[in-house]
């Protein structure tokens, strides 16, 4: 039984289709991250699952129940919003218990649940403060707590960290991950921060224009992106794209006057007049000597030290490329070098269909 199952979900705002016959199955206890550019429909999908939007077509199942028409509060879900949406005039305790009181739960039960959630989230000392007197991270926790006390199996998060500064974000990210491994309930998490997606997810659904482009484990998404969009969207600094042609029965990639042997590349071997070779900055090495077949001559343009690593910008075969090197290695602009490409880790795309080959 799937924890959440979205079947042929379609949602139109007026005549504008925001979600297009979408299917998504989430296993019990799985952590799914919805990733995609702004406006691609992530929040909309989440709201449909929560029952906050009436869908146009399709079905939604949660825990084996068809909840397509059920009220949000009946679906056994908890939701955490980007702005937290805490009730500002109630104390933290009030925020946590308001839903329970409303369900006419006995007082003692409410108290014990609030106490438990507060303990898990370490917000016991804050219970009598109002949200206005809390820091961003604390508010965040209260918002999670509101879902926690309701003892739901499915947690929905809509960009819960995007209002916070980088440091806090990193901390809370780890905290959410711990929470998940402790509670082990199903989580659907919307973000457009890649680091969050890559570190948190069991599986990532990369969306674009209301369609899921790829749904896979983070490492698969990172290393074997299904299409150009996913390849370009994931990874920072971004993947380098070299337009060229696959020749020699799929054994070589022709880039201007250079030819690169596709040795070790694990895709299908067919010729293609218009293809794109994708290589991540960390899969290129900078050397002073050429390596026959898998290297390109290049000229250093800019060297950006970023603490532990440096990002080196170069020009090779008329294309701008970026390469990641340890920070100790400083390269002067104008230095001619050779780029050694790690082809087993490269990705090849059909320029016409934009799909990986």
């Amino acid at each position: 039984m799937h924890s959440i199952s979205v079947r042929d979900l379609t949602l139109n705002f007026g005549s504008h289709a925001v979600l297009k016959t979408m299917n998504l199955d989430v296993a019990e206890g799985e952590f799914i991250v919805l990733l995609g550019p702004s406006g691609c429909g992530k929040s909309t999908l989440l709201n449909c699952i929560a029952g906050l939007l009436d869908i146009s077509d399709g079905e939604i199942w949660i825990k084996g129940q068809n909840v397509t028409w059920a009220e949000p509060s009946e679906r056994g879900i908890g939701m955490v919003f980007q702005s937290y949406a805490l009730y500002p005039q109630m104390t933290v305790r009030g925020n946590l218990s308001f839903g329970l009181k409303n369900a006419r739960m006995p007082k003692a039960e409410i108290e014990s649940r609030v106490a438990r959630a507060a303990k898990i989230l370490q917000i016991e000392p804050l219970l009598d403060r109002k949200p206005g007197a809390l820091s961003g991270g604390q508010r965040q926790r209260v918002a999670i707590g509101r879902a926690l006390v309701r003892d739901v199996d499915v947690f929905l998060f809509d960009e819960p960290l995007s209002n916070l500064d980088a440091k806090l974000r990193a901390e809370l990210r780890v905290e959410i991950k711990r929470l998940h491994s402790r509670l082990n309930n199903t989580m659907v998490y919307v973000t457009h921060d890649q680091i969050e997606a890559l570190t948190l997810a069991d599986r990532i659904a990369v969306m674009k224009g209301g369609v899921i482009q790829q749904l896979d484990a983070p490492q698969v998404i990172y290393n074997r992106p299904a299409n150009l969009f996913v390849a370009g969207f994931i990874g920072s600094p971004a993947m380098n794209f070299l337009p060229g042609a696959v020749v020699d029965g799929g054994r070589s990639f022709r880039l201007g006057e250079h030819s690169i042997a596709l040795e070790g590349y694990d895709g299908r071997a067919v010729d293609l007049p218009r293809a794109i070779l994708g290589l991540r900055p960390e899969h290129i090495a900078i050397a002073t000597d050429p390596r026959p077949g898998t290297s390109l001559p290049a000229v250093v343009e800019l060297d950006e030290p970023m603490g532990a690593d440096s990002l080196v910008w170069l020009k090779a075969a008329g294309q701008q490329m970026s390469v990641r090197v340890p920070v100790e290695r400083r390269l002067e602009p104008g230095t001619p070098v050779y780029l050694h490409l790690d082809l087993p880790k490269a990705s090849l795309f059909d320029a016409a269909t934009e799909q990986r080959i």
Partner: protein, 310 residues
């Protein structure tokens, strides 16, 4: 398994669990909620529309019909005579040219008063929100308290002040009075609105070398349409509808329309000519009403921007 969801708990108890609702949730147009909602709205609308209806209907009846029928029944015989009379014939004392005289006076009073009062208040609000100086808030607080002072209290001191400046009885005296009494609320609106303009915009303009007036005229005014609309509507209705100042600070040949209205309504020649009174009333209210109907949307938007973000 926890108890089934409520919507199929009885009727579909035996149904296959894989079947179930699909697609859009059915929405009955005639649901109980909708009937209640629109029913209440309709009833309330009747209460709000009734007076307008009565005014229109009465103004189209002849006097005999009014004496007989009830005020809600539609006119049996529609006559526009009351309108003609109210506009051009009704008498006050020796003058028998109805409201028409007051109309142009009202226009002449309203236009400069509205412009000046809005201009002054906009500058005030701008100075208060972006160029704070010591004491400004105190003056503003006094101004706001001033909004509560009944006009009657101020009539006499203002007569004296206007006399001393020597503009009593002139158009400019009246314009000044409207500017003064419009100032508190308008300043509040503008201040709140300009406070919600990003401060960075103001800083950028200063770095660009724009001064107090440059920033106001070139940057702030062009981006404040909604609040100007609100101010415009408030002032046009307020000044157009004003009676007290119009009668005290003008002279008969410049009486605004409301004073003429009062004269017509209160100059009873034997019996009260309700139909003429209603026509006169409608004619007087027409200008602000038209403005409301035209710019209602902007008004609501501006109110949201100026009043709520306080």
């Amino acid at each position: 398994m926890c108890p089934g969801p409520i919507w199929n708990s009885e009727a579909n108890a035996v149904a296959d669990l894989t079947k179930g609702p699909r697609g859009a949730k059915p929405r009955k147009i005639l649901s109980r909620r909708n009937i209640m909602l629109y029913g209440i709205l309709f009833v309330i609308s009747v209460y709000y529309l009734l007076p307008l209806y009565v005014m229109v209907v009465t103004s189209l009846k002849g006097m005999p019909e009014i004496r007989l029928g009830n005020i809600f029944s539609p006119p049996v015989e529609i006559t526009f005579q009351p309108w003609v009379k109210a506009w051009a014939q009704a008498c006050t004392g020796l003058n028998c040219d109805g409201l028409s005289r007051g109309f142009w006076n009202s226009v002449q009073i309203t236009v400069p008063s509205v412009i000046l009062s809005i201009a002054v208040a906009a500058v005030n609000g701008y100075a208060l929100s972006l160029w704070k100086f010591r004491g400004a808030e105190t003056f503003f607080a006094i101004l706001i308290v001033g909004a509560f002072i009944p006009y009657q209290v101020m009539i006499y001191p203002i007569v004296i002040i206007l006399r001393e400046i020597g503009i009593y009885g002139t158009l400019w005296g009246l314009v000044l009075v409207h500017t003064i009494f419009g100032m508190p609320i308008l300043t509040l609106l503008f201040r709140n609105y300009f406070s919600s303009v990003p401060e960075e915009l103001f800083k950028a303009a200063r770095v660009d070398g724009a001064g107090f007036w440059g920033i106001f005229l070139r940057i702030m005014v062009p981006m404040s349409l909604p609040i100007f609309v609100v101010a415009l509507i408030l002032q046009v209705t307020g000044i157009w509808n004003d009676f007290l100042f119009g009668v005290i600070y003008t002279r008969p040949d410049t009486y605004p329309m409301t004073v003429q209205l009062n004269n017509i309504v209160n100059s009873v020649q034997g019996v009260k000519e309700y139909n003429v009174n209603m026509a006169a009333t409608l004619l007087t209210g027409l200008v602000p009403l038209i403005i409301y109907f035209i710019s209602g949307k902007l008004f609501v938007r501006g109110i949201a921007a100026g009043a709520v973000k306080g």
